[in-house]
């Protein structure tokens, strides 16, 4: 029976869930639980919160599925419920609420040091990952969500826009600004390796 369900579109499954079909619900959980969990985990940085959010999200699916009038938008609706639940958790925990000042957005510093040529063991070190992770976490909330959805989790611009209720250009401009901030943080961090190689900075 699951073989035929595998071939059903999300929209077809949603219509069945509206008719209380538990097999369709099982298939939707199978299809989306990892995506929902990872998004919640990356937004909250908290594994047990991510599990709770996953459960809450699917309970919301059951409770509110009748209000979803266009079944084709199921996935983005699900991501919207997920990001809202993650925001709820972050507000409660007062995590990542510090907003960088406008000065932090200034990206006029000239990029003269080419750290893209550094060896992988430096680029991919635990330390550089944690510098990048901290920099992502210090971005303003919506920008942080967009960077995580797009660059960490690989969502499409259109999916992000629909999930967050923004236009695609608004998503792209925040994404670009976010990347510029991260790039500058990494440039500052990797600069110490240019000194080590005796180059003039």
């Amino acid at each position: 029976m699951s073989n035929t369900k595998d071939k059903l579109s999300d929209a077809a499954l949603v219509i069945r869930i509206k008719d209380d079909d538990s097999k369709a619900l099982e298939e939707i959980v199978k299809r989306y639980s990892n995506k929902v969990y990872n998004l919640a985990f990356h937004l909250t940085r908290d594994a047990s919160a991510a599990e709770e959010i996953m459960q809450e999200v699917f309970l919301t699916v059951i409770a509110k599925i009748a209000t979803l009038t266009n079944e084709a938008y199921f996935a983005t609706w699900l991501y919207r419920v997920t990001t809202n639940a993650a925001y709820g958790f972050l507000r409660k925990e007062k995590k990542f609420s510090d907003q960088p000042s406008v000065d932090d957005m200034n990206q006029d510093q000239s990029p003269t040091y080419d750290w893209s040529t550094l060896p992988d063991d430096i680029l991919l070190s635990e330390e550089s990952s944690s510098v990048l992770r901290e920099s992502i976490d210090s971005l303003p909330e919506t920008m942080r969500t967009i960077v995580i959805m797009k660059d960490v989790d690989g969502f499409k611009n259109e999916e992000i826009a629909q999930s967050l209720g923004l236009s695609v250009p608004a998503v792209k401009s925040r994404l670009h600004r976010g990347r510029l901030i991260l790039r500058r943080t990494l440039s500052d961090y990797f600069r110490k390796y240019s000194d080590a190689s005796g180059e003039d900075v």
Partner: protein, 78 residues
């Protein structure tokens, strides 16, 4: 092509949405402008590194089963 336009197109370049002409112009500019070349390489590497900052996790089968059982019970008791 000037430096300002060049850097404004980085994002579209990575999205693969630029016309061939524009890509050629952009590459041509970056071949001559060291600053934009470095900017582009470090910008795209930032995107690549972000992708690797977290390893995707899998929810365990047991947890999925427990969740599914809870959901089915809730669905049928609606």
């Amino acid at each position: 092509m000037n430096c300002k336009l060049c850097s404004a197109l980085f994002q579209e370049y990575l999205e693969n949405t630029l016309s061939e002409d524009l890509i050629n112009e952009l590459n041509n500019h970056m071949n001559h402008c060291e600053r934009c070349g470095i900017f582009f390489r470090t910008y795209s590497l930032t995107v690549t590194l972000s992708r690797q900052v977290e390893t995707p996790s899998c929810v365990s089968t047991e947890k999925i089963q427990r969740l599914t059982a809870l959901l089915c019970e809730r669905l049928l008791s609606k």
